[in-house]
Amino acid sequence: MSLAVAVAVVMFVGITLYALFAGADFGGGFWDLFAGSAERGADARALIEHSVAPVWEANHVWLIFVLVVLWTAFPRAFGPIMSTLAMPLTLAAIGIILRGSAFAFRKASIPVETRRFFGAVFALSSVLTPFFLGAVVGGVASGRVPATGTGSLLRSWVNPTSMLGGAMAVVVCAFLAAVYLSADAAARGRADLTDYFARRAIGAGVVAGVVAAVGVVVLHADARHLFHHLTGRALPFLLLSVAGGLGTLALVRARQFGIARLSAALAVVAVLWGWAAGQYPYLIVGRLTITAGQGAHATLEALLGAVVVGLLVVAPALAWLLLLTRRGELVEENAHQN
């Protein structure tokens, strides 16, 4: 494996972790949006807020990590991707800002009206942000970004593959969140909420399967390179993803939430690495390969070194945070109720 490919793998690990962790936080916002009136959805929203609050900022950092690695290691890809996909990226960025701020503002507000307003902003932007990020992926994966300069601002993301990417991102976030939340509810001994989110996990899983099936047709028509490899060398990943998805549905039905979490994560990881395998060796499909887009060798080495040292610092801290969250140590006993 060349140095550039190794760094690309590291970057893709970042994308995977962002999808698994921040994706679930976005999904939390999705279920918040559809939890019904303030009274009826109060319990579900409280559980979502509980699960998301202490971790979302740390989970969000994976996105920054990916961007930073992209421009440091593959500067020639960063410019065209970001400037061509300026519209969905600007909208995603605004979604990220509004979502984080509204979540913090809601937590710090008491009047029901104010909380409802910030809650709506949080929930809505939680759905829109992954959609636009998914659309960005679609633009890159279908080769609509040029190797240099700036491509079409509109067609780069208003196209079948981008719409598929957007829809897929939203559904996957909702699926992950529902599985995680049903596990959280079960751990707290809330049978009502466990059923509530288990039903939604199964629903979202089925919808994700349907979107993926439609996606095969879309990619066949719109992203030939990706389609070709998805049905070739990336096929094992796709099969693994299907198995993980079906397994999750069965496990959720059987109320085995601990393992369901893992198999849901497996389904998502497999689909992401299927995309990576399908796209290889390109950074921008059909335009710019990993080798052609790489930055200075010394920088790649320094970057890998920094990542190793950085992970040595971050990993134990992150493990502690997740452990404390899981053990229920990170709660505010005088937190405002919905």
């Binding site: 202490p54 900022e57 740390a58 969000h60 950092v61 920054i64 990590f65 961007l67 930073v68 421009w71 440091t72 290691a73 500067p75 960063f78 410019g79 065209p80 991707i81 970001m82 400037s83 061509t84 300026a86 990226l89 600007t90 995603a92 960025a93 605004i94 990220i96 800002i97 509004l98 984080g100 701020s101 979540f103 913090a104 503002f105 710090a108 507000s109 008491i110 300069g149 700036t150 601002l153 930055g295 200075a296 010394a298 920088t299 320094a302 970057l303 920094a306 990542v307 950085g310 971050v314 801290a317 992150l318 945070l321 404390l324 229920g328 140590e329 990170l330 709660v331 505010e332 005088n334």
Partner: protein
């Protein structure tokens, strides 16, 4: 050239960058210094058993939660904008200057993790563990500032690579990161964070003191952040001098713009006030030889003037000069405020009594923010027309996409809403933090803190 076609949108791209960076920098400052202040109060509370400190630390950590959240997300958009607005800059220099950003990513990661633990660990974690969980936030915050400024320092004094036939070769990312601007700039920035945060955090308490509540909660809540800010101001003046002398050597045109010096001059003067036109400052108060002395510590030193470079290579002088003078003026006034506090304290071991002191303390928060923005305007506008000093022009870096202005208009709306939301929520939090004490009467009043365990527990338990 392609760049000429996008000239109309260059201005919007620069304005958008200025808006999002200018907005984020204020929040980033609080994210860096506020945890240190809160952890200091918590530590005092555990040391002395005085519940007032703990109560302050808890109420500050609520405000901190809001500020940290909006800081985390408002910083992200800058990463997007590097590519959306300046793709040609990033494509050319991304691998030269990217390393400090990558390291900063991990520093910020560490900060975010411990913020999660610190903010939500008040109730269940043992007090000592909770206090310790706050320490890495401060360290990681300082590290973040250091590495981000390293990237900005690279723009001012690019190094760590060679240009051969227009191509970048022999890249040394570590050398690029440890460029000569790094140390004076990072020091100046980190000290600024403590000044801005200290004065801002003291504001609500200054207001309460001005309105007549003189209880310990308000007095200590005022004194801790305010005294920290005042103590940092003299250090900042020294660091500012260092930074300016560095600019004099490494970015002489920026210094000439800061001072409005047209011709290269031996024994150059400083002008206070006035404006620059036709190569001279008009209506300013002249101090002979002062610029030579300040820039090179020698009254007879030669200072390079703006006319040493072609007009197309000069920054807009009055913007830079006005920003610089405003920053220096505000810094000097803050020094006066600190001296006032120190004299009162030495005389009576107490806060000043004059209402004017608290009125000025109220102004100090916004004034510190203005000084901070002026500092960034000085260094960023002062570098123009270059995005990478003497190597790449800003107009050659901007995206050739049309319609950049619409993104800017959209962001104006978003940031306006965000500002209103943040101020509303923070004001409510600060009002709320004052209420329970008022209801329970003056049990935290007076100079003898009740330090019994039960009292402490009930005070912290009731803190909102």
């Amino acid at each position: 050239m392609l760049a000429a076609a996008s000239a109309p949108d260059l201005l919007y791209a620069r304005q958008q960058m200025a808006l999002s960076l200018g907005w984020h920098i204020v929040i980033a400052c609080t994210g860096m210094a506020f945890p240190v202040i809160a952890v200091f109060a918590e530590w005092r509370g555990q040391r002395t058993g005085d519940p007032v400190y703990t109560q302050l630390a808890r109420s500050w950590s609520k405000a901190l939660a809001v500020l940290f959240a909006i800081g985390a997300v408002s910083g992200t958009i800058l990463s997007f904008e590097f590519g959306i607005l300046w793709p040609r800059w990033m494509s050319t220099y991304g691998d030269v200057m990217g390393l400090p950003f990558a390291i900063e990513g991990f520093a910020f990661f560490t900060e975010a993790i411990f913020v999660g633990i610190y903010l939500y660990g008040w109730d269940r974690l043992p007090p000592r563990v909770h206090l310790w969980s706050g320490i890495p936030i401060g360290i990681a915050g300082l590290a973040s500032a250091f590495f981000v400024v390293a990237a900005n320092g690279f723009m001012n004094t690019p190094t760590g690579f060679k240009v051969v036939d227009g191509k970048i070769v022999s890249v040394h990312p570590w050398a690029a990161m440890f460029n000569t601007s790094l140390w004076p700039e990072a020091t100046h920035m980190i000290l600024a964070a403590f000044i801005v945060t200290g004065f801002l955090v003291a504001m609500p308490h200054a207001l309460a003191l001005l309105r007549g509540s003189r209880d310990r909660y308000r007095r200590i809540g005022f004194l801790i952040p305010f005294a920290i800010a005042c103590a940092v101001v003299p250090l900042q003046i020294v660091a500012g001098d260092w930074a300016a002398r560095h600019v004099a050597v490494h970015q002489p045109v920026k210094l000439a713009a800061m001072e409005g010096l047209g011709k290269t001059t031996r024994g150059a003067p400083i002008h206070i006030g006035g404006f620059y036109t036709d190569g001279h400052v008009r209506f300013g108060i002249e101090i002979p030889d002062a610029l030579s002395f300040l820039a090179f510590h020698h009254t007879n030193a030669v200072v390079q003037g703006l006319e040493s470079v072609p007009p197309a290579d000069r920054p807009p002088v009055n913007v830079v000069r006005f920003a610089f003078q405003t920053m220096v003026g505000i810094g000097t006034a803050m020094l006066g405020l600190g001296i006032w506090l120190m004299l009162a304290w030495r005389k009576r071991r107490d806060l000043p009594r004059s209402r004017w002191f608290y009125r000025l303390a109220l102004v100090a928060g916004p004034a510190a923010v203005v000084a901070l923005e002026c500092g960034w305007i000085t260094t960023e506008v002062g570098r123009q027309p270059w995005i990478v000093y003497n190597l790449m022009r800003t107009r050659d870096a901007v995206s050739t996409a049309s319609g950049l202005r619409y993104g800017y208009f959209l962001l104006i709306v978003v940031y306006t809403a965000l500002t209103v939301g943040a101020i509303t929520v923070l004001r409510r939090l600060s009002r709320e933090s004052g209420e329970p004490r008022a209801k329970r009467g003056g049990d935290l009043d007076g100079s003898h803190p009740a330090s019994s365990r039960t009292r402490a527990a009930s005070a912290t338990g009731e803190a909102p």
